[in-house]
């Protein structure tokens, strides 16, 4: 009999290649992530000290008595300035609702702009940002009531739209009039809500099914019907399953094996030894030409190189002290029998 299901060793041998590749990929991913230093993740984050972070502007605002609240759930925006660094990730209706409630709103590069311009130092040319002077702006150009910096910063009512976020970053805050402009925009009120949308906000985007054409929706229904038809085709049997009463399979040696396990569990080494000795004596008797039951000590000692005392102990009285003694006794009985047989 051979077991066909794999054992632990075979599973390990088969799996170690793919496992090694997986570990290498994981390790490479970790190293690359660490070396790249987080990529875009922390940009315009008021807690981030990195060049593209915004800790500097947040600190400046705090110094000027503005409370900065970083949140992903801007429910309390009333009377505060709302700053949205990534407005494209938020449902437009929700954004409109929020900006209505907020005292002032600053949106950073919402889509769609009118056109793309390059980032450069630009002059304000409008009363709104006259105090700030030239600043680093560019990116998208918008249309609005008040247009500054070549229309890359526009204001319509309370909503200010800005085409590029360089003025808020740690790297560029100290250039030109960036800091002044940032403080002007974000420090309008005592409270600033810094709204970074979480993954949950994206669920308000379109469902997958809204995006596929109608034709394929109906085709999918028809595909389901086809699947049912194919299932019916495959499921129908050609006549019933035929069963049969089979005889039990009992190996005749099972009782003997059971007895062996009982011996072992109860550590019946003395009993096992006496059975083995008896069996050896029964086999030796015809070889020695003695009737069964007769003392074989002298005859065995004569034919083997063992002392009579040793043979007597071995064949008649030795009690094995432990399990290892039993194994040794069995081997020695075999050796004696072989010597008698061959000698």
């Amino acid at each position: 009999m051979t077991a066909v299901s794999p054992d632990a060793g075979r599973i390990w041998t088969a799996a170690r290649g793919p496992l090694l590749i997986g570990v290498i990929i994981l390790f490479a991913a970790i190293v690359i992530t660490l070396l790249r230093g987080g990529g875009e993740g922390g940009s315009l984050d008021p807690r981030s000290y990195r060049p593209e972070g915004s800790h500097a502007v947040a600190a400046l605002l705090e110094q000027n008595g503005v409370r900065v609240e970083l949140t992903d759930d801007p429910s309390a925006v009333d009377g505060a300035t709302l700053f949205v660094p990534r407005p494209n990730l938020i449902d437009p209706e929700r954004l409109e609702d929020l900006s209505k409630r907020a005292a002032a709103t600053v949106l950073l590069a919402p889509a769609p702009g009118m056109r793309q311009v390059e980032v450069d130092t630009r002059q304000p040319n409008c009363p709104l940002a006259a105090k700030a002077g030239p600043a680093t702006l560019g990116g998208l150009v918008y249309n609005g009531e008040e247009r500054c910096y070549d229309s890359t910063l526009v204001r319509t009512g309370t909503v200010t739209t800005i085409g590029f976020g360089a003025i808020f970053t740690n790297r560029d805050l100290d250039e030109e009039g960036n800091a002044a402009l940032a403080l002007t925009l974000l420090g309008q009120h005592e409270r600033l809500v810094w709204y970074v949308p979480s993954a949950a906000d994206r669920s308000q985007q379109k469902e997958f099914t809204d995006l596929i054409p109608d034709g394929w929706k109906f085709a999918a229904w028809q595909l389901g019907i086809a699947a049912v038809v194919i299932a019916l085709w495959r499921a129908r049997r050609l006549g019933r399953v035929v069963t049969e009463r089979l005889p039990v399979v009992v190996r005749a040696a099972e009782t003997v094996e059971g007895r062996a396990r009982l011996y072992r569990r109860s550590h019946a080494s003395a009993h096992a030894a006496s059975v083995l000795r008896q069996a050896t004596r029964d086999r030796l008797a015809p070889l020695l030409g003695l009737p069964v039951g007769e003392d074989q000590t002298a005859e065995v000692a004569r034919r083997t190189s063992r002392s009579a005392e040793r043979v007597r102990t071995l064949l008649y009285s030795q009690e094995p002290v432990d399990d290892r003694g039993l194994v040794a006794l069995a081997d020695e009985l075999d050796a004696v029998e072989n010597e008698v047989r061959n000698g």
């Binding site: 929706k217 085709a219 595909l223 038809v229 085709w233 050609l238 005889p247 094996e257 072992r264 096992a272």
Partner: protein, 429 residues
């Protein structure tokens, strides 16, 4: 009814139709409607399967493991039936291929043959005949089953028949019929014939020689017209599987093989063979058994999970066998014999001679020689204990003048036949 692969294909084509041409619920309904219409038309036009009639013929018994052919004739009174037919049998009947493509014209009939190779002894029965009649479009089919009973009796394989020729040779030697100068070793006086050089001088009949002009020798032949009663034990212990060269067979099957060889030999030796299968009651009984009758009687026997009733058996044997006979009991040497059969032996031995044949297990012998680690040594002790019990039983039985043949499954039939021949040669039947 049943659908075919074409129905699935049609539904899949419908996916393209709906997706590209009719992307609406109406489109889906239209495609579904066309599909259902096709199915309906097909079912309407397919040949009916309910009114088909079937007749079986062909083999009704076969040796286990050999090929036989069963024929199935389909009579079609209605429209043409085209499709597939399945003749279902129980798994151990070993049908080579149970499906055939059918095309029976209206009012016609066709005969299909199915090959069977039974893998297990006993009566192998057919289940149902199922016909799937496909319509003209090939999209849907009518399906129905019929019960067409047939039984193929898988006979005992009688593997040991290869031992028969040398045994018969030995029998002829005993008989003195062989073309040699060796005197027949039988014990029954046969006839007188003229002395030829080489004959044993001890067999010269001086009295007859004095009356005749030639030297005359007596010839002998073995006893004949003796009765041999073969008893097969079909109780609990017969179910145990013993692994020989033919794989794991129940003791019962090995015993059957031995019984078949013995009865074949005994009937050649002109002894009368009675067969009895016994567990706690008579399972099969064949008086004056010939080999074909015997295999038919043995085929359906299975081991039962009951205790062997030795008292009942002895009563049955004493009731049946009127004259002195050799009772061959094919059983297993278990300690239960000591309490069951042994006390009853005097009653049996008074009238008959008993020979017990038992299948010994090579696995136990292998265990007995196991050494090396603790598990093997304990297994060896357990096996030696079992073997010692068997030796003890054999000795006890010998004291009651019972012969015991205890052999490995591959050797048992030959060993039993040899023992029978030596008993015959010694005139002990």
């Amino acid at each position: 009814m049943a659908l075919t692969g074409r129905a699935g294909l049609l539904a899949l084509i419908g996916v393209l139709v709906v997706g590209l041409l009719l992307p609406s619920w109406q489109g889906i309904l239209l495609v579904l409607g066309v599909l259902l219409l096709c199915v309906f038309v097909d079912l309407l036009l397919a040949g009916g399967v309910r009114r088909l009639t079937f007749v079986r013929s062909g083999a009704s018994s076969v040796r286990t493991g050999e090929l036989c052919t069963v024929l199935l004739t389909v009579q079609n009174p209605g429209r043409r039936v085209r499709g597939v037919l399945r003749d279902a049998w129980t798994p151990s009947a070993g049908v080579v291929a149970d499906r055939v493509l059918v095309d029976v014209p209206a009012g016609g009939s066709r005969t299909f043959s199915f090959e069977l190779r039974p893998v297990r002894r006993g009566d192998r029965v057919s289940d149902r005949v199922t016909v799937r009649s496909v319509g003209p479009l090939g999209i849907a089919a009518r399906q129905g089953s019929h019960v067409v009973p047939w039984t193929v009796r898988a006979l005992p394989p009688f593997h040991s028949r290869r031992h028969l020729p040398p045994l018969l040779e030995r029998l002829r030697e005993l008989d003195g019929r062989r073309a040699s100068l060796i005197r027949g070793a039988g014990t029954e006086f046969d006839s007188l014939r003229a002395y030829v050089i080489g004959d044993d001088v001890r067999s010269i009949d001086w009295r007859a020689s004095a009356r005749s002009s030639d030297v005359v020798v007596r010839t002998w032949r073995p006893e004949r017209d003796r009765q041999v009663t073969i008893v097969l034990d079909t109780a609990r212990t017969a179910a145990g599987r013993v692994f020989g060269s033919l794989g794991g067979l129940p003791r019962l099957d090995t015993s059957m093989d031995a019984a078949l060889l013995l009865s074949a030999l005994a009937s050649q030796a002109r002894d009368q063979v009675d067969f009895l299968a016994y567990s706690n009651k008579v399972r099969a009984s064949v008086p004056r058994a010939s080999l074909p009758v015997l295999v038919q009687a043995m085929a359906p026997l299975e081991a039962e999970l009951v205790e062997f009733d030795a008292r009942g058996l002895v009563a049955e044997v004493l009731r049946r066998a009127g004259r002195r006979s050799l009772v061959v009991l094919l059983t297993s040497l278990e300690p239960s014999i000591e309490h069951g059969l042994l006390p009853l032996l005097p009653a049996l031995a008074a009238r008959h001679r008993l020979l017990i044949a038992s299948v010994s297990d090579p696995a136990v012998h292998a265990m007995a020689s196991g050494r090396g680690d603790l598990e093997s040594v304990y297994a060896a002790a357990a096996a030696e204990r079992t073997l010692a019990e068997r030796r003890h039983l054999t000795a006890l039985l010998a004291r009651h003048d019972v012969d015991v043949v205890d052999a490995l499954p591959d050797d048992l039939p030959r060993a039993l036949a040899d023992r029978y021949l030596s008993l015959k040669a010694a005139g002990k039947l």
